[in-house]
Structure formats: C-alpha cells, structure tokens
C-alpha cells in the first residue's frame, strides 16, 4: 500500500522529468536552428532568386518548389495511401493478401530514401522519360509518403469505435457510405496528424530529390510547369552546406534550415487549429 503510493509518486516525478527532458531537447534544437538562421532571414531572402557567386542570394523559387512538390506528391500518395489504409482497417480479412499488403507497407516504410531515389531515377526519370523534374521528384516522394499515410489511416480508422461502424451498416448504409460519412470524419484528427507528419518529412527530404528533382530552379517564378527541374528549399540547404561556393553559403544554409522549421511550424498550426476544433466537435464538447 505505502509502497505503491511511493512508487506512484516516483513515477509521477519521473514522467514529469521525462516530459521536461523532451521539451528541453526539442527546445534546444529549435533555439539553435532558429537562433542561427533567423538573423539572415529577410524579405529579399525569402522571395529573392538564388545566386551562385555573390552573397545575398534568396530562396524564393526553392520555397515555391518545395510546396509545389509537396502538393503534387500528396495528390498522388493521399488517395492511394488512404485507400490502402481503409482497405486494411475495414475490408481486410485475415488472409494471405492482407498479410502481404501489411508487410509491404512496413517494408516500404523502412526503405532508405536513397533507394527510393535510385528507383525513382530509374523509373520516372529514365524509363518514363520525365527527366529531372518536379513531377519526377513528386512521384518519387509520394512513394516515401505512402507507408506512413497507410499506417496512419489504418490506425486512425481502427481507433474509431466498432459501434459506429455497426450502427451505420445497420441503417442500411453501404460500407463506402459508412466509411465516408462516419469513419473518415471520426478519424479525421488522426488522419490530419498523419498528413502533417508526412508533409514535414517531405519538406525536409533531400537524398531522394537529388536524383529526381534536380538542383536548378526555373528562370520564371512561379513556374507551374511540372516538367522543369525544381530544387527545393531542403535541397538548397543541402547544396549550400555541401557544395555551394557562394560567400554566404553557410548563412544561407542556416537561414534555410530556420525557414524550413518556420514553415513546418506554420504548417502545423494551420492544420492543428481546425483539427482541434474538429476533435472538440466530435468528442461532444459544446
């Protein structure tokens, strides 16, 4: 009795310490990245064109490309990922095929991005003739997104109580109606978390895009042509850190890192707010 209470108290302290440690780790990284990068961020940096030799280059086109590639890759991977997730959560009987899909998803989730890059370079860049392009990059990136989307969708839908599903079917809905009108809305908060996760990772991806999207930016800005090369912000960060000869390459790398973090932050906020409202609505709080 006494012992269990002491244990409980120790556990509580332990969890608090761990919570604080995590916050501290994250905060330390954040402060470092932002502290290093923020001083170099200016309007002309965010919107300007890059420059090879002279200082003062910007990342405007890269920023645009980042979002464009992210958007396209989600457009490809979301339907398939959510579809497969729904299949696993709802339709999948326990059979060989389901088992196969499940293992495929897990296997896919552990494929190193360099392998995706090589594969994308072969399939999209060479065989499909897309050359180094935004489209090839986005397609390859969507392969990377896919497993996370599948897992998150499945998990989100599974966490919806069985009773909703039963209730809907018992009212004569088709499975699809039950999925669309009850399961997906109820699992939306989870899904959104997943999409944010995927987006964050996609925005930060480099290894894979070097082989598929290329390191140049279009001369026009913004250029919606998906068949031109499209260096993303993360790529530019990598390039600035490993090859660029611009005199302020180091600052550009740091500023790009900070900018990326800010973007992901804004992204999170933009997505988190509606999802929180949604969650409140779902859980019955007024």
């Amino acid at each position: 009795m006494k012992l269990s209470k002491t244990t409980d108290r120790i556990a509580t302290v332990y969890f608090w310490v761990m919570g604080i440690v995590i916050v501290a780790i994250l905060a330390w990284f954040l402060i470092r990245i932002l502290g290093d990068g923020l001083p170099h961020i200016s309007w002309s940096f965010v919107t300007g064109k890059p420059s090879e030799m002279t200082a003062g280059g910007g990342v405007g086109p890269q920023l645009f490309n980042s979002f464009y590639i992210l958007f396209l890759s989600l457009a490809f991977s979301l339907p398939i990922g959510v579809g497969a997730g729904i299949y696993l959560a709802v339709y999948a009987k326990k059979n060989k095929f389901t088992e196969l899909v499940r293992i495929s998803v897990e296997a896919l989730s552990s494929v190193p991005s360099i392998v995706f890059g090589l594969f994308g370079a072969l399939l999209f860049v060479s065989l499909m003739g897309l050359k180094f392009s935004i489209l090839a990059g986005a397609l390859t990136l969507s392969l990377l997104n896919l497993p996370v989307l599948v897992r998150v969708t499945e998990e989100a839908i599974r966490s919806v109580p069985e009773s909703y599903w039963e209730a809907s079917l018992a009212l004569g809905s088709t499975r699809w109606q039950a999925i669309r009108k009850v399961l997906i809305p109820a699992s939306l908060p989870g899904l959104i978390t997943g999409i944010t996760l995927v987006s964050g990772r996609a925005l930060g991806e480099t290894a894979l895009l070097i082989y598929t999207a290329g390191l140049s930016v279009s001369r026009t800005f913004p250029d919606f042509n998906p068949l031109v090369m499209g260096e993303t912000l993360a790529l530019h960060l990598w390039y600035s850190g490993s090859s660029s000869l611009a005199p302020d390459a180091k600052e550009i790398a740091k500023a790009s890192a900070a900018l990326l973090v800010i973007i992901v932050l804004v992204f999170n906020l933009l997505i988190a707010i509606p999802s929180r409202i949604l969650q409140k609505r779902l859980s019955g709080g007024k």
Binding site: S104, L118, L197, W238
Partner: protein, 280 residues
C-alpha cells in the same frame, strides 16, 4: 468502391516488389565478380585495390548495432513522453508538446547532421578522448530524430484507449502509475509497436545525418566511439560516383538489397513477437 481500395492496397505491394526486383536484379549482378562468402563474411572493403575486395560484414554489423542502440536510447524516453502527454501533462503542456513533436519530424536530416557534427562530435571527443565520431553520436542523433515519431504515434495509441479502462482501474484503488503500467500500456501495445517499427524504419534508412557523424571507416568498430560505416552511408557515399554496371556499383545495390531484407526481417520478428504476446 471496394475494388478501388484493393487496387490501392495492391499498388503498395506492387511498388515494394518493383523496388525489390530493381534493387535485387542490379544487386545480384555483383556475384559475377564476387563470391557470396566474400561479400557477406569478410570485413575487407577495398574497392580500389588491385584485387578489389567487397566485404560488407562490418557495415552489416554496424547497421544493426546502430539501429538497436538508437531504438534503445529513444524508446524509453519517447514512451515516457507519450505517457506523460497522454495522461499526466496539464493541458497547456500537452498542447505545446504535440505540435513541437510534429515540428521535429520536418527538420531535414542535414540539419541534425550538422548539429551532430559541430556540437556532439567535438563534445564526445573532448569527454571520452579521440575524435568523437562513431556509432554513439550517430545513435544519439538518430534517437532524437525518431523520438517525435515514436512519441506522437504512441501518444495517439494511449489516448485513443477507451476511458472506461482507466476508470475501471482507478475505481479499484489502483494508483495512476499502476493503471498506466498494468492496463494502459498493455492495451496500447499494438499502437506502440507500430510506432517503434516506424521509428526503426526511419533509423535504418537514415543516411545524411548519420553520414556526418559516424566516421565512415570501412571497418568493424572497436568501440562505440570508433569510426565505422553503416549500409546506408556505404551506399550513398559511392553510389553517385561509381560507374554503372561495375562490380563496385553492383555491390552497392547489393547492400541496398541487404538493407531491405534486414528491415523486413526485423518487421517479421516484431510481428511474431507481437502476435505471441497478444495471445497471452
């Protein structure tokens, strides 16, 4: 509608199989030049010597060690954090940690690597002597990188447990810790395993950040602070610069195949373990 979902699901399998086929086809070409035994049982990696040697055993060993170590470092912290967020933290703290964790998934690995290279490596070098490169800094960086993934997915799993479980336990006079340890964590096990698998997947596949801090010597590590190479960095460092179709290049594809096989094996092991513990 149903067939659409099946097609999506099949597509996932098709993709992974094409990747395995592609990597496998290219990789097995290496056996034209190198014997199976030399490749897998030798630690001698000297691609440029007059009689090139392509032994990948040390890469394999280091990959496993690094993955294991980073998961071991990360999981206890991440799980404690998940429990903290789901059940203990006051609301404001949770609302702060959640987006913060998501945020960190988005930081490019190069940035982690750079911080590792400029902060962690010199620190470890000073503290333990030597240059500070090796599996330890790589594992620490990886642990931080996969922490948010494991954290947020496990937190979801714990949070989505029906409240009646907690109620039932507390109403029996269990302390919060007992409830967490004996009821909530076991009940959330499938979700937690998913989280760990995903985190592990990222750890095995991570390249850029590891590259900058692990040292990349093609040899067995003498200690956790000794320069060594893992499969991903072995692949990435030479893939772009070796010529297509050479034994060297094919050996790199072989390593990619090995990497795929290892991660699949890990997954299968975890599934078996999970299934067994579920039956109990």
């Amino acid at each position: 509608m149903r067939w659409l979902f099946i097609v999506s699901a099949s597509l996932v399998s098709v993709i992974i199989f094409s990747i395995i086929l592609f990597v496998g086809f290219q990789g097995t070409q290496v056996f034209k030049d190198v014997s199976f035994a030399q490749l897998f049982l030798s630690t001698d990696w000297s691609p440029l010597s007059d009689t090139p040697k392509f032994g990948i055993l040390s890469f394999l060993f280091s990959t496993l060690l690094l993955t294991l170590l980073s998961v071991i470092l990360s999981v206890p912290i991440a799980l404690s954090g998940a429990v903290f967020m789901a059940k203990i933290a006051p609301k404001w703290m949770r609302e702060l940690m959640r987006p913060a964790a998501d945020l960190f998934v988005g930081i490019p690995s190069v940035v982690y690597g750079l911080i590792g290279l400029t902060v962690l490596v010199p620190f470890l070098g000073k503290t333990f002597g030597g240059a500070g490169y090796g599996i330890l800094p790589a594992a620490i960086i990886l642990a931080v990188m996969i922490l948010p993934t494991i954290l947020s997915i496990s937190e979801d799993a714990i949070r989505s447990l029906p409240g009646r479980l907690e109620e039932a336990s507390l109403a029996l006079g269990a302390t919060r810790w007992q409830t967490i340890w004996k009821v909530l964590l076991p009940a959330a096990r499938p979700g937690i395993l998913t989280a760990i698998i995903l985190g592990m997947g990222r750890a095995i596949g991570e390249t850029m950040a590891v590259f900058m801090v692990i040292g990349n010597s093609p040899k067995m590590p003498g200690s956790l602070l000794d320069s060594t190479t893992v499969l991903t960095t072995a692949i990435v460092k030479d893939m772009g610069n070796t010529f297509y179709g050479t034994a060297w290049n094919n050996a790199l594809y072989m390593m990619a195949l090995v990497l795929l096989v290892i991660s699949m094996l890990l997954i299968i092991i975890i599934r078996v373990v999970a299934k067994r513990s579920e039956l109990r």
